[in-house]
């Protein structure tokens, strides 16, 4: 009566192992997110996003992360269906047995986190993959060298009339740059729509997503922020049991260190989601 023919403990250990990987990733993501709260006009955050989006090791890590998320969800669903199948007739009276905090609701808190991930991917990751349109940023230096290359071609007569007109228009547009399109340091163009990328940087310029501006725009919407905060409450509950459960699954249960694991679980489950939650709270209520 098993959906996947591995031993139950093997499946649980697989779930726990990938869970541990995701657990390690969370503080990294939180650390990058907290850069938003620096009052530098998003320079640190954009640099971090640039690094995460262009570094080859990070790109490999990203693929592993995606596989890990899918595996975690897949194994959790298989285990849950098998568990439902193990009790085809349910009790009339709801169980009054004492259980570990939130352990009964792991699949539901996990489901909320899964829904959040879909929303998160649509809003941010799909922009990176160029499936959804977002806001874009471009370093002035890169725009300039791109422009210079085209200007050289124009001087040597390689460009047609139409392309020349576009280049002149770009020069004029850049010289009359409206407010809010330059970052605080003056090194990057920010908050650009796809049309504006074409206008200021050139037709075939590859601009990076401006996650800083997008984050700020999203979190200024109080309904979006509320959904985000609720999802992180679900994450906190999920983590609170997950860390204890992970240790138990790998056989780490001893009176000498059980209390340490319990306290670490509580600390981690509060601090990490709170770190993420600080960003909408700061943007919405403290006017960052």
């Amino acid at each position: 009566m098993k959906l996947v023919q591995f031993a139950s403990i093997t499946k649980k250990m697989a779930l726990a192992a990938v869970g541990l990987f995701l657990l390690v990733f969370l503080p990294v993501h939180m650390g990058i997110n907290l850069c938003i709260l620096r009052e530098d006009g998003g320079e640190w955050y954009r640099n971090a996003c640039h690094f995460m989006g262009t570094n080859y090791i990070v790109k490999i890590f990203e693929m592993v992360l995606m596989a890990t998320i899918l595996l975690h969800i897949g194994v959790a669903i298989v285990l849950t269906i098998e568990n439902w199948m193990a009790r085809p007739v349910r009790y009339k009276v709801v169980s009054k047995s004492k259980t570990h905090f939130m352990s009964r609701y792991m699949i539901w808190t996990g489901g909320i986190i899964g829904c959040f991930l879909i929303l998160h991917f649509i809003n941010f990751y799909f922009v990176k993959l160029d499936i959804v349109e977002g806001k874009y940023t471009a370093e002035i230096e890169e725009v300039d060298s791109f422009f210079q290359q085209k200007a050289k071609k124009m001087q040597s007569g390689e460009l047609g009339e139409k392309e020349q007109a576009v280049l002149v228009a770009q020069y004029q547009a850049l010289s009359q740059l409206p407010e809010g399109k330059l970052d605080k340091s003056g090194k990057s163009l920010v908050n650009l729509s796809k049309e504006e990328v074409k206008k200021y940087c050139g037709e075939d310029f590859e601009a990076e997503p401006d996650f800083y501006t997008m984050c700020k725009e999203f979190f200024k919407n109080k309904y979006y922020s509320l959904i985000y905060l609720l999802c992180f409450v679900a994450l906190a509950f999920h983590l609170m049991h997950a860390i204890n459960s992970l240790a138990q699954t790998f056989g780490l249960n001893h009176s000498k260190y059980n209390k340490v694991i319990e306290n670490f679980a509580i600390g981690f489950a509060i601090i990490v989601p709170l770190g993420f939650a600080l960003i909408p709270i700061a943007i919405l209520f403290l006017g960052f």
Binding site: M1, K2, A7, S8, I9, T10, K11, K12, M13, L79, E82, N83, M85, A86, R87, P88, V89, R90, Y91, K92, V93, V94, S95, K96, S97, K98, T99, H100, S103, R104, M106, H241, N244, S245, Q248, T249, F250, G251, L252, N253, H254
Partner: protein, 249 residues
Amino acid sequence: MNLTLKIWRQDNAKSKGRFQTYKVTEISPETSFLEMLDILNEGLVDKVEHPVCFDNDCREGICGMCGLYINGRPHGCDDGVTTCQLHMRKFKDGDVITIEPWRARPFPIIRDLVVDRSAFDKIIQEGGYVSVTTGGVPDGNAIPIPKKQADQAMDSASCIGCGACVASCKNASAMLFVGAKVSQLALLPQGKPEAALRVQAMVAKMDALGFGNCTNTYACEAECPKEIKRSNIARMNREFLCAKTCSEE
């Protein structure tokens, strides 16, 4: 005490069951739960009705035969006792008590509140023992065992196989039972030679019988009448991991 009982009645494994309501009157608070059901059954027999079937044997809390799901808890509202050791003083006059059989796919209902728990025997048959050749009785002190370890093994061995762990688990998982049976031998030197084979065989049988997967809710630990600890499950997980990664078996 006057009580209303809502009891699951089912003629056999294949028939459809239903809840039937009975009234019992003038029950002494000192009566045990099973004695209260005896009184109900005497009344039913007097009225030429089928008595309610339920499992029981020693009525001393050591055999593991009795097992009823009473008001949402296996073995009822008292901690660390079997159904036979539950007394009516734990209830109030006028209470409505819902009694259900253990619910799990590997525990099919035989009749009313009696379930077939031979699935546990099948798991034990897969390795819950120590193979010994016959011969002279070995000297009791030939293999030194630290007292603490012997006590731990004894604690694990106190499992009576009643099935309350499966009944209380939201996933109908038998991990506490199998964990205790693996642990009682894993803790002792006599169990070591077959340890790797044992844990793999018993877990495979547990899975094949259709028990659910453990999600570490620890309801089993809370409801175990012998207060078997969850550390037994962790020990089994360790044994399983070692067997899979380090053993030749």
